[in-house]
Each structure stands twice: as structure tokens, then as C-alpha cells.
Assembly symmetry: C2
Amino acid sequence: MALVNENYCNLKESYLFADIAKKVSAYAKEHPEKKIIRLGIGDVTRPLAACVVKAMEKAVAEMGVQDTFRGYGPEQGYGFLHDAIVKYYASFGVALESNEIFISDGAKSDCGNITDIFSNANTILIPDPVYPVYLDTNVMCGRKIIYMEGKPENNFLPMPDENVHADVIYLCSPNNPTGAVYTKEQLEKWVAYALKNDAVILYDAAYEAFVVDPAIPRSIFTVEGAKKCAIELCSLSKTAGFTGTRCGYTVVPQALVRKTAAGQEMSLNKMWLRRQTTKFNGVPYIIQRGAEAVFSEEGIAQCRANIAYYQENARIMMAGFDKLGIKYFGGVHSPYIWLQCPQGMTSWEFFDYLLENMAVVGTPGAGFGTMGEGYFRLTAFGSRENTIEAMDRIVAGLKNL
Amino acid sequence: MALVNENYCNLKESYLFADIAKKVSAYAKEHPEKKIIRLGIGDVTRPLAACVVKAMEKAVAEMGVQDTFRGYGPEQGYGFLHDAIVKYYASFGVALESNEIFISDGAKSDCGNITDIFSNANTILIPDPVYPVYLDTNVMCGRKIIYMEGKPENNFLPMPDENVHADVIYLCSPNNPTGAVYTKEQLEKWVAYALKNDAVILYDAAYEAFVVDPAIPRSIFTVEGAKKCAIELCSLSKTAGFTGTRCGYTVVPQALVRKTAAGQEMSLNKMWLRRQTTKFNGVPYIIQRGAEAVFSEEGIAQCRANIAYYQENARIMMAGFDKLGIKYFGGVHSPYIWLQCPQGMTSWEFFDYLLENMAVVGTPGAGFGTMGEGYFRLTAFGSRENTIEAMDRIVAGLKNL
């Protein structure tokens, strides 16, 4: 009798985006005359950079011709893309070896799959509020999960607590959903904690391209010692608008070694290579050529222009909330504005208020964890026109609240 | 202290293709004048069909324009591709619902990831010889693995044994590496065994497009009752030359229900949906448009022309071995020829003999499991010219052996 994985019974169904969609569609039906502006979902809207399109067009054509056709590529990605990423990391002072970089179809996949190489006996430390994938992928393995609280007092940036025992730690900076970013000094404390406790940090750097201050780390490997205690997950989704194009990468340093329960020392780099060569067959050649173009001089400039567009949206949003005197986090090094709901409203009360009075859609913070209650996420990924109009409505609607 | 997954210590490193490469490169160095012909690796060589290239070119262009740009797509794939696959299955008499089809980056990924939804308490039944991924992905979970023997007496098609207890069963037809195909009557026996024992069959149909006899099942779902006991994994790698383009699909029927150890009934379709929405973010839009074109009338005709090319290679190879009186399996409904090594040679002895005397490279059967010893795999994926030349050399070289 085939038995199924019983841990799946412990997963909580998230109805967050389904509930939002339901409410929005009901509102639209009742108010067909209203133009609803959606600043809820963390998906990009700007088209791919011209040089990326050109590189992929060339690669598609190559696949149609006998002499340039490519079959199976290396599971961990082509050398040309490794080289491009090594150069990219060097530009902010991080030296990587090619074989420390694993190309994948995105940070979400790697974030889920990386659990494979760890024992289920580990205690997992997860921030609250949080990107739900960290939690769910560990519930699927039946692991012990503990939380660290993000709150206004710590600027939604929880710090290590010597009294808490954790084996695997998830950090995300710039953070989804709060937009908060760790400073180098703060990351040094996390690395010190991990080294002292032989823990491993899974560092989600998916939003690194939004960091504007060169003093703020774009990689955990800017911190000394991090290569002995951290894995970094990154993605082109937000860097280059690849949410529907799918390419990411994970850095597993050669220096990262941990033991089995029986005490055998294992290289995590070799384990991940074994995982990927066994359960993955690489990213499409066409997509890898597009990704290579992202890291070219031209590509960096073109992608940066798109990010600047979103950053200007964020500035417009921040200016509105500043005018209203509403407290918020994020927005500077992040496409997310994480604001305190006015008048002590709950997340869902504010959601309804915003929808019904201003026809603007955002995401209730409570959807990201208990500590998100009373907070609300808006994204800067909309068009300029919609962002301006939404903020005009919000400022007008809330100023006399 | 972060502990790593100790089951990884039980994985055997496979040096098969590395050892082959080493021997070939040593031979090439010693004999720079010889033209080595490689018929070893199961990778396609024909370029993508013209209509697939055209569809992807269009999709790439769409991604560069504001109005047609696409961000996140559904994790389980776009409706347009589901519809195309529903129609494709209908063409050989299988009725599927859209939500039973999950688009992925390939059968290897799904084959590895599908283990997630099963309990580690299951006993896994695997054929020998076998595609190594079935074995390794289950070793990674620490599962009990038992084997069923493929041998000349059963035409390398092991059948169910009522005395063997198995919970999850891997079947691959047309088979890699042996090229053997199950008849409908044989699959009916497997389905009956699975239904009787509440087992689940993981049916790898990656080579279905090579089936030439309409009486041979191209899907396990042509067998009545299979939707209550089977998951089918399929891929465009061999159907449409997508080994470097990466798209596959997995069919998890709505009727497939199994229990947890605690007795809770679970829909495997819902579990796989949860797995994929949590740990996967969909296949690139560009690639899905290419895959859609594969299933168009034009695409089916163009892809079939490529397959016919490989099938003609297989016929040339079979004619050579017929002339030599060498016994082989496969070749008819498969790009693989699985031959008995002449003169009682071991797989590696024959490998060396073929390389040193005829400068032809194949794959020693022993690399696919104990039962592969004394056998040898050649593939029909080479060019016509090389296939003819290799067979001329083999026939000339072996006829007086």
C-alpha cells in the first residue's frame, strides 16, 4: 500500500491571494465604473531589456540549425553564465569560483529543493512575517520550526538570540514582505552566531539589485566567514524582470562543510551538485543566453533603468505616506512599502477600507505571518501613471481620516 | 549544529560516462588519425522543428514589449499548453482533464521531485537494468528499494510477482536502456497488481513518440483502471528534441487517492499541485509557446520527421546486427539498441573492443545495473552518415570474430 507524505496534512492552505481576488472581483462587479489599481502582487510589469531579447532571439535561431543546435547542457549551468555571474559578484567585492554557482529555474525552486540536502532533525529558524515558501517547504519535511519576530522595535530585522537554538536560519534582505535591509554589522552578527553554533544561513538575496547604498550588503558573502556558514539564493526575477522567463542561481561555497548525524563530514557544494545532477537537467539554453546578457555592460545598464523606474514609483509612494504621517518600512532599498495600518485597523480592515474607498488593492500583512497583523504591503511594480493615481487617491482619502 | 542528509552517504558515485570519456580521450590521443563515432549518449542531434523555432521567436519578441510582456505564469503551466496536451492524448484515445496535467522543466525533475509526496516508509520496486534517477532519488530519501530483474527470458520486461510486496513501482516503456516495450496485456497485469495492492505506478513515457505499432500503449492511461493507480511522466526531450530546451509534463489523475500512515485519504493530484505551487514557479513562457507548437498539426508532422530519421538509423543498426547474428532488444519502438555482447564478453570488454578496433563508442550495459552485464547500448541519435559508417565498421570488424 503506497503511503503518502503525512506532513502535507500539516500544511495550512493559504487563501491570501485567492481571498484578495474574490474581494476585488466582487467590488468590480458592484462598481463597474471604478478603475481599480492593483499594487498587491510582487510581480514585475516592465518588458525584458532589449539586449536580453536580442540574445534570446539569437539563441532560438541557433536551436533551429543543425550546426548550432544544443542538446543536454550541464545541469549546473553553462560556463558562459557562471563566468558572467563571477564577474557580477566581483563588481561588489565578492570573489566566487565558477563551481560555487549553480544556475536554476529560479530562487523559489532552489529555496524549496535545498531542504533535500539537510537532515530532518534540524531546527529551522524563520522570520515572521515571511515569504511563505520558507515555512511550507520545511513543514513538508516534518521539521521543527521556530520563529523570530520582526516588529517596529527591531525595524522588522530580527537579530540572533544566544538563548535560541537554531540549525538552519532563513534570512531575506532586502526583505519580502517588509522591504527592510540588514546592514553589514547586523549580518556580521548573524554570521558570528552561525559560525559559533555550526548553523547554516540560507540567505535570500532575490532583491539585491534594489539596494542603493553601497554600504548595504548585496550578498552575505561580503561578510567575512560567511562562506563557512551560508548559502545564497538569488534570482533574475526582480533584477531583470525574469518572473516569467525563469532563471536564478544559488551559491554554495566550497568552504561550507557540515556533518551527518553519524559524524561524517560532507561538502554541501558536492551534495547540492549531486542533488542537482540527479533531480534537475539544467535551465534552457535559450534562457541562459538571455541571463548572460543581463550581466553584460549593456544589460546591467538596461536592467538598472527598469529598476530605477520602480524605485521612482517607490519614492512617489513614500512621499505620499510621509505627507500623511503614516509610518512605513522599506521603499528605499526595496520595491515594497510595508506600512502601519492607520487608526489601529487590522490588515484586512485596511484592505477593505482601501478597496472600497479608493479602489486600490494591496496585500494584508497578516497574510505573511502573525507579526504582520496591523501592517500592509504595497508594491512599486505598477506603472508610473497608476502609482501616481493610486497615491493621489490614498492621500486624498486618508488625510482626513 | 546543522546536520546534513545522511542518506547522501549511501549514494554510489556513477563514473559511467566519466569513465567512458576518459577512455575515449586516451584513445583519441593515441590515434589522432582515427575518426571516432559516438553512439553512446542518449541525446538528440537534430535541430528543433521550424514551427517550434518560429513560436519561440514570437514569444521572445512578446516579452520585449510592454503590452505583451508576461510575468509569473501559473506554476502548473499555461492553459494553452494544457489544451494542446489534452488534444494530443485524445489522439491516442486517452481522455484527460486540464488540471490533471502539470507542465514542468522535464521528466528528470518530476521523476526526482515526485518522491516528495510519498512517505519514506514505502517499499520501492525498480527494474534492473534501469535509468539511474529512479534509484538515486529514492536512496536520497532513505527508502527501502527492491529490484525486479530484466533479462533475455522476459525480454527485459519484468512482470509483477504476487510474492513481492511493493508500494511504489517504476516502469519505463519504451525502456531506457533496453528499448523494450510493454504490450497492453502486460500493462494490464501491472495495473491489476497495483490496484490489488494499493500500490502506485510511476510510469515513465519519455520515449512514447517512438512507438510505431498502434497496439502498443503510448500511455499507461490506455489501460482501464490506471487512473486509480498511476502517475505518468513525459517529456518533449525525445519527442521534439527538447533535451536542451527543457519541457515535460506529468499526469496525476484526479481519481488517484492514497492514505497517510494515520489513515487520512489524500488526493495525489492536490498534493502534487501543492508541491509544485510551493517549490516551483513554472516553465518559461517562451518555452511553453515552443511546446505548444510541438503539439500543433504542423509541429507533430515536423517532429515525426525527426523521429523517422532516428528510426531509420535504428533500422540500419538492426540490419547490421541481424547480418552478424547478434541478439538485440529494442530498436523498433525505441532509439536504443540493447545488444548481447558477442563471444561472452563483459560490457566493458566489448566497449574496449569496439573502441580499439572500430573507433565506435557505445555504453556498457553494466552501467545501468547488475542485470546489464554482458549487454551494450547503442543509440540511433547520431547522423545518418555516422550511423552507416559505424555499422559498416562493426559488421566488418565482428563478422569474423
